[in-house]
């Protein structure tokens, strides 16, 4: 057994054992971390591989949440199918969000996602016969084969299993020809298009995959919380997702997952700071961009290089590209 395999085994063991060692609230946080893990994967596909910034991922999250909830509540669709339904709905809207890619270049696409997010939130809010509008919408507990999953610990394990599948899929995706083409487009759009890579097609694929993953997250999220209201899917959430991705690290799937864990746990650690939380996120974001461009996921490596005289090339190779893009968006 290689050290890597041992490490992988231990990590998985810890992730599986965790809910049995802690109380209900921590189980809830674990479930949230796994749920955000899906968003992290989605951000990785779009931003890490595709180099595209979205200011509208809260909308895909909302669509997954509301979509699956409406499917279960109104149409009696079983929970697992409703989750898939939520992913499909979010994915379709991902394609719609990317449609401007057929016409516009660069950051206009990010602005377009922002527009879509605002429209989606407004429609969900106004369409109160379906979504409950201001009152919000009750979501039943998740159930599997007729059994209600009452315990958040068990629910977490189910989400974790799905997350592992998603990780496996995203790993294959990034190694696939499609994934390489997407990276090529990000790396040099001109040359990639000259090579015959269709920009619009690939960006649409990236958006669809990313939105669908985020939709799955939303579906799990709604069922965990038991209640949805449109106030929880604002621009601020979209920005938080971006922050989470950068802090975790854009360069790898590991970074995406760390980002998810960070986003779930940070509010608990920063609880006492209350309103200052957003400020702290902001500072952390800047600190990450300046000092740790590979995100938290590169922290072990950064520490290792600090203590070893031998200089290695950093494993997170492409984050700086995205960080540049991110800072351009601010302009």
């Amino acid at each position: 057994m290689t050290p890597k395999a041992i490490f992988a085994g231990l990590t998985l063991l810890a992730a599986v054992a965790a809910p049995f060692l802690v109380g209900p609230y921590a189980q809830y946080i674990l479930a949230m971390a796994a749920i955000y893990g899906f968003v992290g994967l989605g951000m990785y596909v779009l931003l890490g591989l595709g180099g595209q910034i979205s200011l509208g991922h809260a909308a895909f999250w909302a669509l997954g949440a509301y979509g699956s909830a409406v499917l279960t509540v109104r149409f009696g669709v079983p929970f697992p199918l409703a989750v898939i339904g939520g992913a499909v709905i979010a994915g379709v809207f991902g394609a719609i969000a990317a449609m401007p890619a057929l016409r516009v270049q660069g950051h206009y696409l990010a602005i377009a996602t922002l527009g879509l997010a605002i429209v989606v939130q407004q429609v969900l809010f106004q369409w109160d016969s379906v979504t409950g509008g201001r009152q919000g919408m009750l979501v039943p507990r998740p159930s599997l084969f007729g059994y209600e999953i009452d315990d958040d610990g068990h629910y977490y394990l189910i989400i974790l299993a799905c997350l592992l599948v998603a990780i496996w899929l995203v790993r294959n995706f990034q190694k696939s020809f499609l994934g390489i083409s997407l990276k090529a487009l990000r790396s040099s759009p001109i040359a990639a298009q000259a090579a015959g890579v269709g920009r619009a097609y690939h960006l649409i694929v990236a958006f669809v995959v990313s939105a669908a993953l985020t939709g799955v997250s939303g579906a799990f999220y709604g069922a965990l919380l038991g209640q949805l209201s449109t106030d929880s899917f604002t621009l601020l959430v979209s920005l938080d997702f971006l922050t989470m991705a950068v802090i975790g690290g854009l360069g790898s799937i590991g970074g995406a997952l760390v980002g998810g864990i960070f986003y779930a746990v940070a509010p608990e650690i920063l609880r006492d700071f209350q309103q200052a939380q957003q400020v702290i996120y902001g500072l952390l974001l800047i600190a990450c961009m300046r000092l740790l461009p590979g995100g938290l996921a590169s922290l072990p490596h950064a520490v290792a290089t600090l203590f070893s005289s031998r200089r290695k090339s950093p494993p997170e190779n492409n984050s700086s590209v995205e960080l540049e893009k991110l800072s351009e968006v601010g302009k």
Binding site: K4, I29, G226, S229, D231, H301, E316
Partner: protein, 391 residues
């Protein structure tokens, strides 16, 4: 691809390490009661449009608990009441409830504020068996609940309607009624109450008119109601449209008896309606300072001592009423305080009199908010008491 796997694993490990301190099982099984402390909590919109009222509501409850603690607590235990913001976001109310129950391990949720938020949190609290005591909200599920865990504070919509109709019929000899109501469940419940009373007592509803909260002109509604020439108008609107209706009537020179809910009983309503507010009757389901009862005097002095900046009025009295209801119930539960014994304690009181809201019916199998309300009238810019509720 070796790199990505390695960072993946490192990442997960780092994340887990990071999260461990937050994952300790805390109160999970303890029901929030130690030898010295009773932990309870609440959610309310401390940010957003309702923030001003919510802050007074919180101060009312908090100052009462402080007073109780200074008196030696409840059966020797101090009350630790954790009030958290939900921004009037139902989803956040659920998240706060989870935190209170699973993280803080509270005994009960006490003195919450908001209909949508309470409705959202209810299924979760029910599932976990957490008593919800004194939610300030208007919905049958919270005012005349089916769930044992709910101990109401305020009257149901139909009670408001019945109480207002009853007053104009009995005290003002009105036979023909007109109703102005909000076009949603809140307004329709009140209208139902009026209709029920009218039917039972042979009154006639000669006109109804509705509005939506975004309306800025209610003159057509005022015209419509006036044409029916009612003996009394039941104005069940929220302060903005309620005040607009009063102003329209004054402009038209239409003098008639009008009764409104207590929502039109505070300074905000007075500012909105100006002189048009004088003569307006109010149903009262919360104390007003004009009630010179010992309970009200005590409430005012507690507020003065512990929250001197908070005005004595609807919000503070409502918050305090919930706190008082909890304290009474916990005291009755005795030394062995659990969620179960707390609910038994509250039910053992059967009728709970706080003096700050009309008597609450907490008898086993039948929890309900107040049914017999008080009445007041705006005179010279002040609410005067016409008739107190039956204690």
């Amino acid at each position: 691809m070796t790199i990505s796997r390695r960072t993946l694993l490192k990442g997960t490990a780092a994340g887990l390490a990071l999260s461990l301190p937050a994952l300790r099982p805390s109160y999970a099984a303890s029901e929030g009661v130690s030898d010295t402390e009773i932990k309870i909590g609440a959610f309310m919109p401390l940010q957003g449009g309702l923030a001003a009222g919510a802050a007074q509501y919180r101060d009312g409850a908090a100052s009462y608990f402080q007073w109780v603690n200074d008196q030696g607590g409840i059966n020797g235990r101090k009350v630790n009441w954790i009030a958290q913001n939900d921004s009037y976001n139902p989803q956040q109310a659920v998240a706060v409830s989870r935190e209170l129950v699973d993280r803080e391990g509270v005994l009960a949720v006490v003195s919450t504020l908001g209909t949508a938020t309470n409705m959202a949190a209810l299924p979760y609290l029910k599932r976990r068996g957490i008593p919800l005591i004194a939610p300030l909200a208007t919905d049958p599920a919270l005012n005349t609940p089916k769930d044992r865990i709910v101990f109401p504070l305020s009257p149901s919509g139909s009670t408001h309607g019945t109480a207002m109709a009853k007053f104009v019929a009995e005290n003002l000899k009105a036979r023909k009624l007109a109703v102005f109501y909000q076009d949603d469940q809140f307004g329709k419940d009140i209208l139902e109450g009026v209709k029920t009373y009218a039917k039972q007592n042979g009154l006639e509803i000669v006109a109804t008119a509705s509005y939506v909260p975004s309306d800025i002109d209610v003159s057509p509604q005022a015209q419509q109601l006036r044409q029916a020439n009612p003996d009394a108008v039941i104005n069940s609107a929220i302060p903005k449209q309620g005040a607009l209706m009063l102003i329209e009537a004054e402009k038209m020179g239409w003098k008639t008896n009008v009764i409104a809910t207590q929502q039109l009983g505070d300074d905000v309503a007075k500012r909105l309606a100006g002189s048009a507010i004088n003569g307006l009757y109010l149903e009262l389901y919360s104390a007003v300072t004009a009630m010179k009862t010992p309970a009200v005097e005590q409430a005012i002095s507690i507020l003065q001592k512990y929250a001197p900046k908070t005005p004595a009025g609807y919000w503070a009295f409502m918050g305090m009423a919930g706190a008082k209801a909890f304290a009474e119930g916990a005291r009755a539960a005795g030394k062995n305080l659990t969620r179960e014994s707390l609910m038994n304690g509250l039910e053992s009181l059967k009728v709970l009199k706080t003096g700050l809201v009309p008597p609450l019916d907490y008898s086993a199998g039948h929890h309900s908010g107040p049914t017999d309300l008080g009445y007041g009238q705006w005179q010279d810019g002040e609410v005067k008491l016409v008739r107190n509720w039956q204690e």
